[in-house]
């Protein structure tokens, strides 16, 4: 694969020695070349021509079916505009945005997100779920759907409707096995687009499944997306808790209220002997929530059912409605809802310009 990449760059060099300098990213996957070029916005005509020229040239490479060249503009005025603008337009009719975050990856944040979304929906609210984990989108797998989103008449992307939830994920837009080799600013652009250019419509709640970590991307999102609150997911293990605390600190810094902590994989009950094992420690998140002075929203045990439902693409909230886990999710959803309602009046200041 990397040979194709080198070859492609060589070909660009032959077309014009300056072209390789314009390359922002180049990815070869599934016999396709994805190329993004730095574009000068004022010379869009020239760049459109360059794009066609490159697409033609590169599709002649052996073993390549198609070439997709995208033009990206980072002229100064554009960037500063994008940087300071609050991300609001596509979500103007969304009443509450809740982010589900964890400092550490692999603690089950996406599983919690989808089940929480379904649970809030079962309480009678309209719910959307945005998978902001661009590097490892899990939502398509968790809902067992990979259909391509359609466009509305106004040219906006329509969210995928599944299980009564409006869904959007980068996983619906790119092939499953193609990695996203992107730098931070591109991730932020992609997430902003999934907020702004998706026709979310009227929603009571939009759950944002955040990428794990407390880096640049997460901080930028926490700053720019007008979030009503954040839910922190952690396992009881110290290692995960250390990172969860960083997550709490990050949201506090940008005044996003912490709705509380959820402890995932809290305990394991052996299906054979019914013996309870605390694989990742006992009540770690509960204790830490108290230390951090945030609420504890509930614990979700490590259960084979939950894993199986997730892998089969039907959330446990829908496939095993009577299970303990489903009941726990419903309890958590009720807590989240009441906390949001308590907060909603006091938060946003009014701007009055006479």
């Amino acid at each position: 694969m990397s040979d194709v990449k080198t070859l492609a760059i060589e070909k660009l060099k032959l077309l014009n020695p300056e072209y390789p300098e314009l390359i922002e990213a180049i990815v070869v996957a599934n016999k396709k070349i994805y190329l993004s070029l730095k574009t000068d916005k004022t010379k869009i005509d020239i760049f459109t021509r360059i794009k066609l020229q490159i697409e033609k040239e590169l599709s002649a490479i052996d073993g390549i079916d198609s070439v997709s060249v995208s033009l990206t503009s980072h002229s100064e005025s554009m960037q500063s505009k994008a940087d300071t603008r609050a991300v609001t337009s596509g979500i103007s009719e969304v009443r509450n945005i809740i982010s589900v975050a964890s400092g550490k990856g692999g603690v089950g944040k996406s599983t919690i997100s989808i089940n929480l979304a379904v649970a809030i929906n079962q309480l009678g609210f309209s719910v959307g779920l945005l998978d902001a984990d661009v590097y490892g989108p899990s939502i398509p797998k968790l809902v067992g759907d990979r259909q391509k989103p359609k466009k509305s008449k106004a040219g906006k992307i329509l969210p995928i409707q599944k299980y009564n939830i409006s869904l959007m994920s980068i996983g619906f837009l790119v092939p499953e096995d193609s990695p996203m080799i992107w730098r931070g600013p591109m991730v932020i652009t992609a997430v902003s687009q999934m907020l702004n250019d998706v026709e979310w419509g009227q929603l009571d709640y939009l759950i944002v499944d955040m990428p794990p970590g407390t880096g640049d991307v997460q901080l930028t999102m926490a700053q720019r997306v007008p979030m009503s609150g954040a839910v922190i997911v952690s396992t009881p293990q110290d290692l995960a808790l250390i990172d969860a605390i960083k997550g709490i600190e990050m949201f506090k810094k940008v005044n996003v209220p912490i709705l509380g902590m959820i402890e995932n994989m809290s305990t394991f009950i052996c299906p054979n002997c019914k013996n309870e094992s605390h694989i990742f420690g006992f009540e770690g998140a509960k204790v830490e929530a108290k230390n951090q002075n945030v609420d504890f929203l509930g614990d979700i045990p490590l259960e084979i059912d939950l894993r199986e439902c997730s892998d089969n693409g039907k959330p446990i909230m829908l496939s095993k409605t009577d299970s303990t886990v489903s009941k726990k999710f419903l309890e958590i959803a009720k807590l989240v809802k009441s906390k949001i309602e308590d907060n909603s009046n006091s938060e946003k200041p009014n701007i009055i310009i006479n």
């Binding site: 300071t84 609050a86 700053q223 997306v225 005044n255 996003v256 200041p349 701007i351 009055i352 310009i353």
Partner: protein, 114 residues
């Protein structure tokens, strides 16, 4: 910490922040010369610029930034200052001192408010 109301006066030269129990009033000039923007503050205290000639400046518009700040857009085109609630409070608390320092700085550098 978070103000309830943010009010721009009719002549657009005065910003009032109303909190639960207290109120703070600051002039557009004061806010402009103390903009937290890197254009003014630089990236270290040594890089700080003294902004002069801003008497009578007005604020064109105010935008909320997430839940933690506002962005003020001034009529001289300056729009990169993100004023966090915390920073606004610090400015108001130290208003007299900061203003005095500003005036003496102007004098030292031979600059004027006009």
């Amino acid at each position: 910490m978070i103000p309830k109301n943010i009010i721009l006066s009719e002549n657009k030269k005065e910003l009032t922040l109303e909190y639960e129990v207290k109120k703070s009033v600051m002039s557009a000039e004061f806010l402009r010369v103390n903009s937290p923007s890197a254009e003014v503050k630089g990236h270290s205290p040594a890089q700080k610029k003294t902004v002069s000639g801003k008497r009578g400046i007005s604020i064109n518009s105010i935008e909320l930034v997430g839940n933690y700040a506002i962005k003020l857009i001034f009529d001289d085109g300056h729009s990169t200052g993100i004023y966090t609630w915390q920073y606004l409070q610090e400015l108001f608390m130290g208003k007299d001192k900061i203003w005095k320092e500003y005036i003496s700085e102007l004098r030292k550098k031979g600059l004027y408010r006009d």
